[in-house]
């Protein structure tokens, strides 16, 4: 029963994809020569103007270009032109670093706040104000004070991924069932041991959910941050190709950003499943 459902769902997915590609292909067909121009003039003009080629590339153009990129993902033609693999590597490294720093700060801090109702109440207004700030709004400030664009980008990742983790850790730690803590107390378990053997495992699913939300946000933000500061990364690639009005490459980048984002999310989802426990 489940296998046939999965089969049918797969079929529907493929049909949807085929329909999408078909419509895309039809919508971007060239309309043929629209105006007559002298050959001398036509030689100086782009295909859009001479053959009525749509400004939007079709699926075949994108596929061919994608194949070209996939064949040599790690080429390096100097500081402003690197392969997609290298660009993605830069972006993932930036996200990884900023995210790791955020984990190192958010989880211990969240633990402390969650275990102390006083701190929790005292810090709440600050967190509430800082949380909704768009991470990119920090960018000019970061550039101005840190005076280094790549560290600024990492800082922006750090600041955007810290809040979901912090709030979820606080929530997870604060809502550990009272009975479990009381049992630990009765058995005279020390504070440190209680934190690690009772509270941490109990709060882990909530904490990991926070981490999963954070990685998603971090990946969303890195593209925008790299488009702003430039240099390297998939965001820079998008900007550079936008600069050349190469929509084909922009579409390829969009596709890859989606795939990498999905993979990052899947990794965290797997971790979450590992620490989840039945009650």
């Amino acid at each position: 029963m489940t296998s046939s459902l999965r089969l049918r769902a797969g079929l529907v997915s493929i049909v949807l994809l085929a329909a999408f590609l078909g419509i895309w292909h039809l919508a971007t067909r060239s309309t043929g020569t629209t105006t007559t121009m002298s050959p001398e003039y036509a030689k100086l003009m782009g295909l859009t103007a001479t053959q009525g080629k749509s400004a939007m590339p079709g699926p075949l153009d994108v596929g061919a270009k994608l194949w070209e990129h996939l064949r040599r993902p790690f080429y390096d033609n100097g500081p402003n032109d690197k392969g997609l693999g290298i660009q993605l590597g830069y972006s993932i490294a930036r996200v990884g670093l900023g995210y790791l720093l955020a984990v190192l700060v958010a989880i211990p801090l969240g633990f402390l706040i969650g275990m102390s109702p006083l701190l929790s109440k005292a810090l709440d207004p600050f967190i509430q104000v800082l949380k909704p700030i768009s991470p990119l709004a920090w960018m000019p400030l970061a550039l101005y004070t840190i005076k280094d664009s790549s560290i600024s980008a990492i800082f922006v990742i750090f600041i955007c991924s810290i809040w979901p983790m912090l709030l979820n850790t606080v929530f997870g730690v604060a809502s550990v069932r009272k009975e479990w803590i009381n049992v630990a107390r009765t058995l005279e378990v020390g504070t440190v041991r209680r934190a690690f053997t009772v509270i941490l495992p109990a709060a882990a699913p909530t904490i990991l959910t926070g981490m999963r939300i954070s990685i998603g946000i971090a990946w969303l933000v890195i593209v925008a941050a790299e488009m702003l500061v430039g240099g390297t990364g998939i965001g820079y690639f998008v900007w550079n190709e936008w600069n050349n009005l190469s929509i084909t490459n922009v579409i390829i980048a969009i596709l890859l950003i989606g795939i990498v984002g999905m993979l990052l999310d899947q990794v965290l989802a797997r971790f979450t499943r590992m620490v989840t426990f039945p009650e």
């Binding site: 859009t48 402003n80 009005l245």
Partner: protein, 460 residues
């Protein structure tokens, strides 16, 4: 430091201590010397001369006592004359100045991917930086504000900037005041007014009331030229039309999406709009002011004083590249060198049309103007004065302006002239020239009168 002092002074030691005798300690002397060097960029030749003469005197008289005795007995001028007779000090100095080893060899130079940056970009693939002993990485940058911030942050040692930007930064307009300098202009001409194809019957600017135009940056020649052009046709650019600051690459997309009616933009963007069939060339900027500057090569004063030799080598490389780019026969080769994704990232046909001046005008015709874009490195100080008059005219600067002082501080005409002479080029003898913008002559000696002569301007 001893190398930079007068070796013909009988009373100083060439070996140790504070050698000039004006300071109590070496440290204090060094501080004064380095402070002096900030001002002394124009007397670099003198300094080299001193260095070379010092070396020669030291070699001739290894004993300080003997040198002093010699100088006392014959006098400094006789000694200098005698020395020059059998040792060509002048030539030695020139050789030394040429070979002044760069303090920093690995440099980063930022650029915006437009054809204005041609000399800066082509100098990398075509080996002009390497020829002058530098290892330069040219880094593509997302926009003018970013290039400004990255240069101020010292991520870049020098950068491609719009000609008015170093003036604005030095004056602290829209940024903290940081002294910047311009040793070379990148390009002259090479911009254009492009209108959306639907406006092909509205060629008279008087019909442009209510239209929306894009310019690349507030402190740009594009802004001043477009305002000038509109005002000459009786439109007040602040009230009759809308001017928007839009990054060049987004201009074509905006024109296609009908968000703007036209733009005065740097080339390859103008030609790109035509190439993609969304606009036509209304007017080349050359027709507003033939020979106007557009972009500049800029560095902070701090970089110039801490690494004077690197800066000189960099300027030489740029002047060299500019001279090469100014020759029409080299333009096709340059177009191919700067088109790849690592540099401008644009179709070669588009760059060729810009650089060779044979271009499609977007209305079905092919036009030829060999001077559509041209390259001339000399940083005329009168250009800076004109930009200041326009900043004043449109209210970007309030109050009194010392036009001459600012122009001379930012546009390093004297230094560039010297470098160009050393390189065997023939720079102009003065830093000021008069020119005409849309038929109206500009006299750099009377900037205030010039500002006052315009009917349309922002009331200050």
């Amino acid at each position: 430091m001893s190398t930079f002092d007068n070796p013909f002074d009988a009373d100083r030691s060439l070996q140790s201590g504070c050698v000039c005798g004006q300071h109590s300690s070496t440290a204090e002397h060094e501080q004064a010397a380095s402070a002096l060097r900030c001002e002394a960029v124009e007397s670099e030749e003198k300094r080299y001369e001193g260095v070379v003469a010092s070396a020669v005197m030291r070699a001739m008289f290894p004993q300080d006592v003997a040198r002093r005795a010699f100088l006392k007995s014959v006098g400094a001028s006789t000694a200098l004359a005698a020395l020059s007779q059998f040792f060509p000090l002048q030539t030695a100095t020139e050789v030394f100045a040429q070979a002044g080893t760069p303090e920093k060899k690995d440099l980063k130079v930022g650029f915006i991917p437009i054809t204005c940056a041609t000399p800066i970009i082509m100098a990398a693939p075509m080996g002009f930086y390497a020829k002058h002993g530098l290892n330069v990485e040219v880094v593509k940058t997302a926009g003018w504000a970013v290039i400004r911030d990255k240069t101020i942050n010292k991520e870049y040692d020098a950068a491609h900037m719009l000609a008015p930007m170093p003036i604005a930064i030095s004056l602290g307009l829209a940024a903290n005041a940081i002294p910047f300098a311009v040793p070379a202009i990148e390009n002259i001409n090479g911009q254009g007014i492009v209108l959306a194809t639907k406006h092909k019957d509205k060629r008279d600017p008087k019909d442009w009331k209510g239209m929306k135009f894009a310019i690349p940056f507030d402190y740009s020649m594009h802004n001043y030229l477009l305002r000038y052009y509109l005002a000459e046709h009786g439109l007040d650019p602040d009230t009759d039309v809308q001017l928007r600051s839009v990054p060049p690459p987004e201009m074509v997309a905006n024109l296609r999406a009908d968000n703007i009616d036209g733009f005065l933009a740097p080339d390859n963007i103008c030609q790109r709009a035509i190439y993609d069939g969304v606009g036509f060339m209304h007017l080349l900027s050359k027709e507003i002011w033939d020979g106007h500057p557009c972009c500049s090569f800029a560095a902070s004063r701090e970089f110039i004083t801490t690494a004077p030799n690197s800066f000189a080598a960099l300027t030489r490389a740029i002047v060299d590249a500019t001279a090469y780019a100014s020759k029409a026969e080299n333009r096709k080769q340059i177009a191919e060198a700067i088109a790849p994704a690592n540099y401008i990232n644009a179709p070669v046909t588009v760059l060729e049309q810009v650089l060779t001046g044979t271009y499609a005008d977007g209305l079905g015709g092919v036009k030829t103007d060999a001077k559509r874009v041209d390259f001339d490195p000399f940083p005329w100080q009168s250009f800076a004065v004109w930009m200041l008059t326009q900043m004043k005219r449109w209210g970007q600067i309030k109050g009194d302006v010392d036009y001459k002082a600012v122009a001379e501080q930012v546009y390093l005409a004297t230094d560039t002239k010297k470098l160009m002479t050393e390189m065997g080029l023939s720079p102009p003898t003065t830093a000021y020239k008069s020119f005409a913008v849309m038929g109206k002559t500009f006299d750099p000696a009377k900037p205030e009168d010039y500002v006052a002569s315009f009917k349309i301007r922002k009331a200050s």
